[in-house]
């Protein structure tokens, strides 16, 4: 009754091809943005913003990058964690070499560095497909991780082997480093994520996105229809690693504040893969839903026993977290193999015809 396009007439092609053709969708989006920009800073405490929202946004951005590669172009990659690492190390290197330049510029540029590395490791994708490609991307993961440990130049030969974020300001307000307030960092992350999601949305709904999806559905057929595979696949790798790189830079500079090479290990890549698959392949909203589920689930599992007054040792709790996370992954895969985004679509369809069944 409330969610229906009846009476909303399109008078131009542009209106007809809009990404959100239904007015209620646009209102809903505006509401979500309002909650994100105004509501959460008002009601959320320090913990909520620093430990839940910022990681969620950063991981969602990386998941969007991976989703472009897996969900839209059908190229399985297990190296996202390393590409995030490339972004983080590039940003660290650039910002320590030229500290006077605005940090936002360097965060975006580090995405470009990651992009170049991604294209390099994407080259085999033309000849190798499916799981063979997935394992080939593991080469990128392990090689890059080795670089983060062995190449001292990358972390300025810091004896601890870690990268630490110096203080940077934007319009006189500190946004990175120890003195930056979580709220400021949250606004910076949120703005970057919103802008990049908007960009990704335009990309996947346009000509490029359609090319990618054609390649995903069957690459030989796509080639016969005149899509050049090499540029399409490499572009997907480039855009995907760009997103991963920016997410990595944000992760170190605005979320953790410091990072060791271990932060970008293979588990990070796997966790991102979970997010994309549980959220829904080939869906931007799915990336957000998946990131929310996978990031927030362990927090809930960890805090629930305490809230219920049960006392479980921290080691036991951690093991239980593993079991429950694994169980839920299986549960979601069996109940809805197309991910949370699909559930969201079903709900929308039901709302549209409500109160009738069809």
């Amino acid at each position: 009754m409330f969610y229906r396009e009846v009476g909303q007439f399109k008078t131009s092609y542009a209106a007809d091809q809009a990404i959100f053709p239904i007015r209620q969708d646009r209102i809903g989006l505006a509401l979500i943005l309002a909650v994100a920009f105004i509501g959460i800073p008002l009601i959320g405490g320090e913990f909520m913003i620093a430990s839940v929202m910022i990681p969620f946004l950063v991981l969602a951005l990386a998941a969007i990058g991976l989703n472009i590669l897996i969900g839209y172009t059908g190229l399985i990659s297990l190296g996202t964690g390393a590409f995030m690492g490339v972004g983080a190390y590039a940003c660290y290197k650039l910002s320590t070499l030229f500290p006077q330049v605005n940090i936002i510029v360097w965060i975006i540029s580090s995405g470009l560095v990651s992009c170049a590395v991604g294209v390099l490791f994407g080259l085999p994708s033309l000849r190798i497909k499916g799981f063979y490609l997935a394992i080939a991307t593991l080469a990128a993961q392990f090689f890059l991780q080795w670089c983060f440990v062995r190449v001292g130049w990358l972390y300025n030969n810091n004896p601890s082997g870690a990268i630490e974020v110096p203080l940077h300001t934007l319009f006189g307000i500190p946004i990175t480093g120890a003195t930056a307030k979580p709220l400021t960092r949250y606004y910076v992350v949120l703005t970057i994520v919103v802008v990049m999601t908007w960009f990704a949305s335009n990309l996947v709904h346009g000509r490029i996105g359609r090319n990618w999806m054609a390649v995903r559905d069957m690459d030989i057929a796509a080639q016969l229809m005149g899509i050049r595979l090499l540029p399409a696949k490499l572009l997907a790798f480039a855009v995907s690693s760009f997103y991963a790189g920016v997410a990595g830079a944000l992760m170190v500079f605005l979320w953790l504040g410091a990072a060791e090479p271990e932060a970008f290990n293979i588990n990070e890549s796997f966790v991102l893969l979970f997010m994309v698959i549980i959220g829904g392949l080939g869906s931007l909203i799915g990336s957000f839903l998946g990131a929310a589920l996978i990031h927030i689930l362990p927090i809930i599992v960890r805090t629930t026993p305490g809230a219920l007054g049960l006392s479980i040792g921290s080691a036991t709790a951690e093991h239980l977290t593993y079991i429950i996370t694994g169980g839920l992954i299986l549960f979601f895969l069996i109940v809805e193999p197309h991910g949370l985004a699909r559930l969201w679509q079903i709900a929308k369809q039901k709302l549209r015809v409500w109160p009738f069944p069809y």
Binding site: A136, L138, A139, L273, L320, Y322, T325, I329
Partner: protein, 318 residues
């Protein structure tokens, strides 16, 4: 020029000057390769029969070895603990078939791949919950495996062979031969190959898919147990072993996902290549290249043969 010399000439000079070191390195590579091949074998068995890329093979190996050692430490005699561990692997196969495979049949490959990730998490959690996360020592002698080393005097030097490594190589060959006979000669083996060829056709001639899946996962579980014992005897049994199992992935793509001999040959190439590379070329770039060299070798092979050395030729149709 100096760099070219260091890359292309110097390592071979070293090999020529100290042939005993070369033999030692080759032997270690060979043994490592055999163990990689065993892990890869578990992958291949499951991939052939159910089309599942079983990421959990590595953790199955740890879990099986951990069950064995955990039971032994609780006072169960070693042979009984071995039997019980085999029993646990059977229960695991039953559970996987019932809970994971049956509801997810006919889903895209990547979904099944993810499901094995879920399985990995469950096994990690359960293993740590029941047996604790500390590294445990494998009771080598109680299981009747040899200990110690044989020193060979050849080529003007000393080459030391660990007895457990020799045992590992022998057990691995017996297992591969046994599996080959099982696949070629027995009724169940033929049914397995039929399922691998075509699920629907196999169903229509009366082969029970569910039963076959249990058998395959159980076989892979036994392979995992054997691998776990061998790895556990070399280093302690701990969850860190799971990372080693990632090394079996380049072996897989090198040999082809569907080929048992491919897993063996791939394992040997990766094992030897990795050790030689680390020993002779590693110092040039600061060492530690073992972590990615295997992938680089596999990638180089793949560029020329995208389906692996022994994989089925990929024929694509519109």
């Amino acid at each position: 020029m100096g760099l070219l010399y260091q890359i292309f000439i110097d390592p071979f000079m070293q090999m020529g000057q100290a042939p005993d070191l070369l033999v030692q390195t080759l032997w270690e590579g060979l043994v490592g390769g055999v163990l990689y091949a065993l892990i890869a074998l578990g992958f291949v068995l499951i991939f052939k029969a159910s089309g599942v890329f079983n990421f959990a093979q590595g953790i199955m190996m740890v879990f099986a070895a951990l069950t064995l050692v955990g039971l032994y430490e609780k006072g169960v005699p070693a042979p009984l603990a071995l039997l019980l561990a085999i029993g646990v692997m059977y229960l695991l196969a039953l559970g996987v078939e019932r809970v994971v495979l049956r509801p997810l049949v006919n889903q895209p490959d990547i979904m099944l791949f993810m499901a094995t990730f879920g399985l990995t998490y469950i096994l990690i959690g359960a293993g740590q919950l029941v047996f604790g996360g500390d590294p445990k020592e494998m009771p080598v002698t109680a299981l009747g495996l040899p200990k110690g080393a044989i020193d060979l005097k050849i080529l003007g030097g000393l080459v030391s062979l660990q007895k457990i490594d020799i045992a590992a190589a022998i057990i691995a060959s017996i297992m591969v031969a046994g599996l080959a006979v099982f696949f070629q000669k027995t009724r169940i083996g033929r049914a397995l190959r039929a399922v691998a060829d075509d699920h629907q056709a196999a169903l229509s001639v009366g082969i029970s898919l569910n039963q076959i899946w249990v058998i395959v996962w159980f076989t892979a579980g036994i392979v995992a147990l054997a691998t776990g014992i061998m790895w556990g005897a070399r280093s302690d049994v701990s969850f860190a072993l799971q990372v080693i199992s990632l090394k079996a992935l380049p072996v897989l793509i090198l040999g082809g996902f569907t080929s048992v001999p491919g897993a063996i040959v791939g394992g040997l190439i990766i094992g030897i290549g990795e050790k030689l590379g680390e020993f002779y070329w590693g110092p040039l770039v600061g060492g530690g290249i073992e972590s990615w060299l295997a992938y680089a070798i596999a990638l180089a092979f793949l560029l020329f043969k995208p389906e692996g050395l022994f994989g089925e030729k990929i024929i694509e149709r519109i």
